[in-house]
Amino acid sequence: MRPFSYVPAASLEEAVGVLARHGDEAHLLAGGTSFVLLLQQGLVDPGVVVGLSSVPGLNTIERDGAGQLRIGAMATLGRIEGDPLVRDALPCLSEVVGRVATVRIRNQATIGGNLAHADPAQDPPPILLALDAVVEAIGPSGRRTIPLDSFFVDVFETALAPGEILTAVRVAAPSPAIRFATVKFLPRTVDDFATVTVAVRIDPSPDGRVADLRIALGAVAPVPLRAVAAENAIRGHVPDEALLAGAAELARDAVDPFDDVRGSADYKREMTRVWTLRALRRALAPSERVA
């Protein structure tokens, strides 16, 4: 590791400027939980590190005029978990981020870092995909928004252009009729990365059909992804067990896991089917509302 110089950015504009000046030499620092490990392992070797914790207001969580929740990139997972606005509008998100690793990690890791790092085994992406989240970014050519659905490109690779900074994630607060179920399957220890994560969102229609839905999966492909074929199999239908079982098989066929200590690729495929089916059943169960 060579010495790097550290620039605590006073504003996003300054951070964008430093990134533009130094190109590949520069690296952003958010909470640092992944960055420090990458640095120790020599997987990043920056000449300049640009700190984002010094940018005022970048960790703000607010509701905008349109009722959307806007979570600043530097909000820690622990802060999101406990935030009253999030708990009220998005209890499903609070619950998911509250299951990430340990208290220590949640106090340090940020949602912006989590998404921009694009490790496919992270927990927040599937629930955010199920919520149709959008990320905001700023770069040399200004500001833009990117649907999370097209944000993840490959392992550790996102749609952010060189020099672009993720500044916030935005989510519309779902109506109370919409139901969620999330699963984090952890066959080893509770603080581990998941073997598979599933987030299901069901928008019921009064006639018993599923008007719309999302099935999003994590840790089972190079990127977090939606099981679109499985969604299509259910959308517009009155769900029964055979329909759900068929959809779960389509979810299994949509994934592309790799072998690791959390299971073989075959095992993860099969667990994708099993946990998708269970999550669908839970989200559709009449008696309980599962956040």
């Binding site: 590791m1 550290y6 605590p8 640092g32 700190g51 208290v103 990690i105 106090n107 603080d191």
Partner: protein
Amino acid sequence: MAASADGRLALRVTVNGTLHELTIPGSRLLIDLLRDDLGLTGTKKGCAIGVCGACSVLVDGELMSACLLLALAVQGRSVTTVEGLAAPDGSLSALQAAFIAHGGFQCGICTPGQLVAATALLAHQPDPDEAEVRAWMTGNLCRCTGYLGIVASIRAAVIGEGPAAGAGE
């Protein structure tokens, strides 16, 4: 904080109530700053990848891993280590006393981290039930697997059970 050409930077940080002004390389980890620069060796380096909890410290009261923090991230902030848990006169905190009375440690290597994590728990939730204690403490591993004693010690501190209650165990 301005970095000089060789990447060293000036750091001001309060540790256990004492303000320190140091010049450090940007890559200095908080755990190394504490142990090697400040001589506070109570904070242990176990896994060095954020998993075991042996390096647990409080940063502005929040529980974090000193092994996953660059020292530059605590610029202007206040860090508490296990050395800062006892009162200035040396009298132990209720948690420290309870760990002694209720068999909260065996070899002791994980104990500083357990104490700091438990201190953060009680600051956050003064009256946790056993499930809350277990959930919070999952991030602090004990290689001696003395978990029952750790949970019992924290519960004893919560209900204000004095050292006598655990004597003779």
